[in-house]
């Protein structure tokens, strides 16, 4: 469900920058510390974009590796998993250099959105 929130926020950002044109490709940069599951994000992106200028747009996700710097000894390392204590001097308080990204890098847009297709008809749930 985390990915649903992220997908909705991606759509929000994309629509703000698409200038009313149809979007065919969205390029994302996702840091590995963000705990985003790529397949799950793609699935939800497909759902939240229905009936919008992004409907049918492809989602490209670039995974950005984590890199930390120790505040005490300036040692830099790539953590294998969630380990934020400096492996050299043992200090806490590391700075995240990369890995926290959650960024819309760029879009590919086509012509103007003529008319949004109607959203699929909602299922009508009735008590039997």
């Amino acid at each position: 469900m985390h990915e649903l929130s992220v997908a909705a926020a991606v759509l929000d950002t994309v629509v703000r920058h698409a200038g009313g044109r149809r979007v065919t490709l969205v390029r994302l940069r996702v840091g590995e510390l963000r705990q985003v599951v790529p397949d799950s994000l793609e699935l939800y992106f497909g759902l939240v974009t229905r009936g919008t200028a992004c409907e049918g747009a492809r989602l490209e996700q670039e995974l950005v590796a984590a890199r930390l710097r120790c505040g005490a000894c300036t040692h830099e390392w790539r953590p294998g998993g969630p380990a934020f204590r400096c492996p050299e001097c043992g200090a806490g308080g590391a700075t995240v250099l990369t890995g926290d990204e959650l960024e819309v890098h760029s879009l590919v847009v086509g012509g103007p959105v003529a008319a949004c297709p109607e959203p699929a008809e909602e299922a009508q749930w009735t008590r039997s």
Binding site: M1, H2, S5, V6, A9, V10, D12, T13, V14, R16, H17, A18, G19, R21, T24, L28, L33, R34, Q35, G81, P82, A83, F84, R85, A91, G92, G93, A94, L102, E103, V104, H105, S106, L107, V108, V109, G110, G111
Partner: protein, 220 residues
């Protein structure tokens, strides 16, 4: 025909902008804000029921976030403090967290200028609430020992972004296989040197420490 639009924007920038507005309003009103997060059932509401009456001289209000129901808000109102309820299913599509705009919508029901401390009880969830800043000054999370030692490793973003970890339900420890030392080691790996408090909201043991942390946050 096709054109590339360079964006280079953080996905949550819109939320972060609203969070900044909230923060400016909090600071203007002179109220300090705690974002209280946890998994469902960890004991946020029970902890507040115990801790808030201990806050002598601190004018406190609560903003309750829940997907549905006023159950927790009613428990807070029973403490005779100002309470605002945001149900995320009504206008926010059943969201599993509070974001800055939802909090903003709930602020109109609170006398901010008359408060020293506002506690925002977030929707129970270990993932999404950690992503969305709401303009808070401090973040605390309630972890309960029934959840298992490995949770910091599974949900590092939550444990990494909070200023205090409350370990609740300590009274249950004799009945569980929970290894407290292993949990604290895992917590230290994810968030070195983060302060933690061991307590039981049920028996009240240790809750005074949490109340003191709230008082200190309020600047009292």
């Amino acid at each position: 025909m096709d054109e590339v639009v360079n964006v280079h924007r953080h996905v949550l920038e819109h939320n972060d902008a609203t969070a900044k507005q909230n923060r400016a309003d909090f600071d203007e009103a002179g109220v300090r804000v705690v974002n209280l997060m946890s998994a469902p059932g960890a004991g946020k509401t029970s902890l507040l029921e115990r801790a808030l009456p201990m806050l002598a001289g601190v004018r406190v209000g609560v903003l309750e976030g829940d997907v549905q129901s006023s159950l927790d808000a009613d428990r807070m109102r029973a403490l005779d403090v100002p309470v605002s309820l945001v149900n995320t299913d009504v206008t926010f599509a059943g969201e599993c967290h509070l974001d800055a705009a939802m909090v903003r919508s709930g602020l109109v029901d609170l006398p901010l200028a008359d408060l020293d401390l506002l506690v925002v009880e977030n929707v129970g969830n270990l993932v999404c609430p950690a992503e969305f800043t709401i303009g808070e000054h401090r973040r605390a999370m309630v972890f309960s020992v029934t959840e298992g030692e490995e949770k910091p490793l599974k949900y590092p973003l939550m444990f990494r972004t909070c200023d205090l970890v409350v370990v609740n339900k300590m009274d249950l420890l004799p009945h569980l296989d929970f290894d407290l030392d292993l949990f604290l080691d895992n917590l230290d790996a994810v968030h070195p040197d983060v302060p933690h408090q061991l307590l039981s909201a049920r028996t009240g043991e240790g809750v005074r420490c949490f109340a003191a942390w709230l008082s200190e946050t309020a600047g009292a």
